[in-house]
């Protein structure tokens, strides 16, 4: 569904991603792990066209998208839940959801989002910037779903959510997967990530150092790239 | 010449290029007064061209610097003309503030300066300088000249409206002085800001006041707006509009449509002045520029002529500023505006003032001279 080949991304002169290649299979949850500052967000941003890759190829279904702008990429069917939520603070909750709404047949609607996150309905006319951290995270997820994407990029969606909401979101992602949505998930919450993952990549210093099923992710690899082992 | 040299030596009179005479003109070429500056320059060039850019066998070189009607810039440019270009003579300034700003510099450096527009009274009164002579007008001349006439012919009470800056206030005060001296009564005064955009509020106030006439001093775009709105708010039918000639001068009258018709004003020149000098001047100007001269063009023309005649007297030798100034003071001739000469006491010009009325001629608003007040002299204090 989404393939990344030998992607290299720079911020100015600093080379952040080194030949990153990923395969995100249709209807699967692919998880991207790695410690802080390893390039996970950069990978997501490069796919989304927000920090365009310098070299490499990104293919969505049959379309090459590495040279497209982010709004085109979004319209091709990639949705984004960004890190840090990036809610529009000066828009109301409803405006946040509806401004970029793209209706689709059997797609998500405002009512469904409200049903999923009743808290958002209660705060419907509050400014996005006034919401609590967790509420903003829900809003960010809802906002992405309302663009009715085929592929969903989630960058730490559980951040700031209460354990109960984490389970809820886990459940939602599972459902989305069942509905055939393709998902690339970046997570620090290993429990959640591994519960959902069909396939796992680990990024270290901007390079892919592991790719395999959750079962193949042994304690060695984890210790080396994810946990504090001193 | 380094700065040290020129400030330690007493006489700055180093040998200049003897072949040409350099005249520096400080005129606004950008900003609100740009068109005045442009017309002054056109007038000057017209005259110099008529004498082949030569006087007493020497070439005339005219260096025009843009003052932006800003005193700081004016001073900077004056310094450039004096220190850098080493001009023999300065002329110009539309803005009185600029003239005041360069007054000390000119005085200190003994640079003959013929003021060709700026009309602030003090220039030939408290700020008088041996080297400054004025060929244009003073605000007093403009305002005072209509006072008696207005009392005799218009009415016993007036309302004064003038743009709120030094010149506007000086003109208004001079009018008031003459008008009240004649026995008239000023029932109210109002001073809208310069460049005011909407006169409706003032006009409503004036309309509801008890006055026979309104004396107004406005110029340029203010004059267009004021005169138009004066008619639109229905004042024209009730109160005669009188004022300075700039209210209905060449550069604004056409834009006012017929709103200005009926206005009475006092001024020192008009396009329709019926003298042979004026006819010749207008013909020459229209031939060269294909447009009517404005009063500023006339000022430029006269200033150029005064300079040329003075230089002729000194035989083209401008090295002694005192002699140049002396020569200027003796210039007199019949200008398109009538006979002119300098008052040696005040350094200010003595000239006729004209009462003009705006009439409709072939569907066009045109001015007509209805009375001449001869040889008006500024009191000098």
């Amino acid at each position: 569904m989404l393939n990344v080949y030998n992607m290299n991304t720079f911020y100015g002169d600093s080379h952040v991603l080194h030949n990153v290649s990923l395969t995100v299979e249709k209807g699967k949850v692919t998880v991207l792990l790695g410690r802080n500052g390893m390039g996970k967000t950069t990978t997501i941003h490069s796919i989304m066209g927000m920090v365009p890759a310098k070299t490499g190829k990104i293919v969505l279904e049959q379309t090459e998208i590495q040279d497209k702008t982010s709004f085109q990429i979004s319209r091709l069917g990639i949705g984004l839940v960004p890190q840090g939520r990036r809610i529009f603070p000066n828009l109301t909750v409803k405006e946040n959801l509806m401004t970029t709404y793209r209706p689709a047949e059997n797609g998500w609607t405002l009512d469904q989002i409200y049903a999923m996150f009743p808290r958002l309905k209660e705060r419907e006319s509050s400014m996005g910037g006034d919401l609590s951290g967790g509420e903003q995270q829900m809003l960010s997820i809802g906002r992405a779903l309302l663009t009715n994407p085929k592929v969903l990029l989630l960058d730490e969606p559980s951040e700031g959510l209460s354990p109960l909401m984490v389970q809820e979101v886990t459940e939602i992602i599972r459902q989305l997967k069942q509905q055939g949505l393709t998902i690339l998930l970046v997570e620090q919450n290993l429990a959640m990530a591994l519960e959902l993952a069909d396939f796992v990549y680990i990024l270290n210093k901007g390079a892919v150092v592991f790719g395999g099923t959750p079962n193949e992710l042994d304690i060695h690899v984890k210790n080396k790239y994810l946990l504090l082992s001193s | 010449n380094s700065a040290i040299q020129s400030t330690t030596k007493n006489e700055g009179g180093t040998a200049k290029n003897d072949g040409t005479i350099k005249i520096g003109a400080l005129l606004p070429k950008s900003g609100v007064y740009a068109s005045l500056g442009k017309n002054l320059e056109m007038g000057m060039k017209l005259y110099f061209e008529s004498i082949g850019w030569k006087v007493a066998g020497k070439d005339i070189e005219l260096i025009v610097e843009d003052t932006e009607a800003d005193p700081q810039v004016g001073l900077r440019k004056a310094r450039k003309l004096i220190d850098q270009d080493q001009v023999d003579l300065l002329t110009g300034t539309v803005s009185t503030a600029v003239a005041y700003a360069i007054r000390d510099e000119v005085d200190k450096k003994k640079m003959p300066f013929l003021v060709s527009h700026a009309g602030g009274n003090d220039l030939t009164r408290s700020k008088r300088s041996d080297y400054i002579w004025r060929s244009s007008f003073s605000s007093w001349q403009i305002g005072y000249s209509l006072g008696q006439w207005a009392y005799d012919h218009i009415g016993k009470t007036v309302y004064i409206a003038a743009a709120d800056y030094a010149f506007g206030r000086e003109v208004a005060a001079a009018f008031k002085e003459a008008y009240t001296a004649a026995g008239g009564k000023v029932v109210g005064e109002v001073y809208p800001p310069l460049g005011n955009n909407d006169y409706s509020s003032y006009l409503t106030t004036i309309k509801n006041a008890n006055a026979d006439a309104v004396y107004a001093f406005f110029a340029g775009s203010d004059a267009v707006k004021f005169v138009q709105q004066y008619e639109q708010f229905g004042l024209k039918k009730e109160k005669k509009l009188i004022g300075s000639g700039w209210l209905v001068s060449e550069d604004v009258r056409k834009q006012q449509g017929n709103a200005g018709v009926g206005t009475i004003a006092s001024i020192f020149w008009d396009y329709h002045l019926d003298t042979k000098e004026n006819k010749a001047f207008i013909a020459a100007f229209e031939k060269k520029y294909n447009a009517r001269p404005t009063i500023e063009a006339l000022e430029g023309y006269d200033a150029a002529k005064i300079i040329a005649e003075a230089l002729e007297t000194v035989g083209g030798d401008a090295s002694d500023p005192d002699k140049v100034v002396e020569a200027i003071s003796n210039v007199q001739f019949v200008s398109p505006r009538g006979p002119i000469q300098f008052d040696k006491e005040t350094h200010h010009i003595i000239q006729n003032m004209y009462i003009i009325e705006t009439n409709l001629v072939n569907g066009q608003a045109e001015n007509k001279v209805i009375e001449v007040i001869e040889k008006v002299k500024d009191p000098g204090q």
């Binding site: 002169d13 901007g206 | 070429k29 610097e65 700003a101 709120d164 800056y165």
Partner: protein, 329 residues
């Protein structure tokens, strides 16, 4: 001796040498540039360091200029006395105006400073008896330094150079000091600075007063240099042009505003002598600046330096290891 001090000393020597080599016109022009450079430096304290963009800074320039003019007329021709008194008056005025202005932010700050300066303008413009109205005050007595008559342009020039050097050094020290860093912090994120325990309103207020006082110095110098003051000194166009000097030179640097002042004054004087469409040429230059050197003259100079030194510009990230926790492993 460090390089900056060295460059500074060379610059001062050059300034001292100018009257021996250049004509009076250039001397006066340079004096004017130095005065306006002081003005731009003062505004830069607000715009460049504290992040407060003022469009009313001419208020303090004008107050300094008028105070100096009136004091010279009515009180004493002593240059230093007048300078000191004008600065105090300008500081007092900025203390009053600042009280209100530092309460608002961003564009509202810009407009509130504009409002105050325009109110002062209209006062100056209208109280003809005190300020001379639209004609301004001219024919001011020439300043004295002790018994030296500063009507000699060379002496006056040296006095201005002296004031300029003092102001430059003092401001240069301030912006590099911890206090200066507080101002920069406020520019970047006022809320965080509060959380760090800084009374940001007070710091902004102090910066406003410093800027106002130094603006007053430049105004007082200006009236001494020109021998007159006019309402244009207080008008918003003056605030606008000094803001442009700061921006074109490079806000938030010390040398930037000085370069900006020099650039604008020279450009205006020279270009307008050759063509009537000089506004257009200056406009085009502004546009080119934004497009090709958005960081001002200073940014341009830096880039040039870097290229000349064959160093890679801006970021040293390339050499930095991506991981920051290796030390802990």
């Amino acid at each position: 001796m460090n390089r900056q001090v060295f460059i500074g000393i060379v610059a001062v020597i050059l300034l001292i040498a100018v009257p021996f080599f250049f004509s009076l016109f250039y001397l006066n022009l340079l004096a004017e540039i130095l005065v306006l450079a002081i003005f731009a430096l003062s505004l830069n304290v607000l715009v460049g360091y504290t992040g407060l963009v003022s469009l009313g800074h001419a208020a303090f320039f004008g107050i300094g200029a008028y105070a100096s003019a009136l004091l010279a007329k009515e009180w004493s021709p002593q240059f230093l006395l007048i300078l000191l008194a004008s600065v105090l008056i300008a500081a007092a005025a900025s203390a009053v105006i600042g009280l209100f202005c530092v309460k608002v932010n961003g564009f509202y700050f810009l407009m509130l400073t504009l409002a105050f300066s325009q109110m002062i303008y209209s006062f100056v413009h209208q109280s003809t008896t005190i300020t001379g109205g639209s004609n301004g005050l001219s024919g001011l007595p020439s300043p004295m330094l002790g018994t030296i008559d500063l009507s000699n342009p060379v002496f006056l020039y040296y006095s201005i150079v002296l004031v300029f050097v003092v102001v430059y050094i003092v401001l240069g020290l301030i912006v590099k000091s911890p206090f200066g860093h507080v101002l920069i912090g406020i520019r970047e994120n006022e809320m965080r600075m509060k959380a760090m325990g800084y009374n940001t309103a007070l710091y902004k207020y102090i910066a406003f007063i410093i800027a106002g006082a130094i603006g007053g110095i430049s105004g007082a110098l200006y009236s001494n240099l020109n021998g007159f003051v006019s309402p244009n000194d207080v008008y918003w166009t003056m605030s606008g042009s000094v803001l442009i000097m700061v921006l074109i030179g490079g806000a938030g640097t010390m040398i930037g505003p000085v370069l900006g002042a020099a650039f604008i004054v020279i450009l205006e004087t020279i270009v307008s002598s050759y063509t009537t469409v000089w506004t257009m040429i200056i406009g085009i230059i502004f546009i080119l600046f934004v497009v090709f050197m958005p960081r001002g003259l200073v940014g341009f100079a830096r880039l040039f330096q870097k290229l000349a030194a064959h160093r890679l510009p801006i970021s040293q990230k390339g050499t930095k290891p991506l991981v920051n926790n290796e030390a802990n492993q």
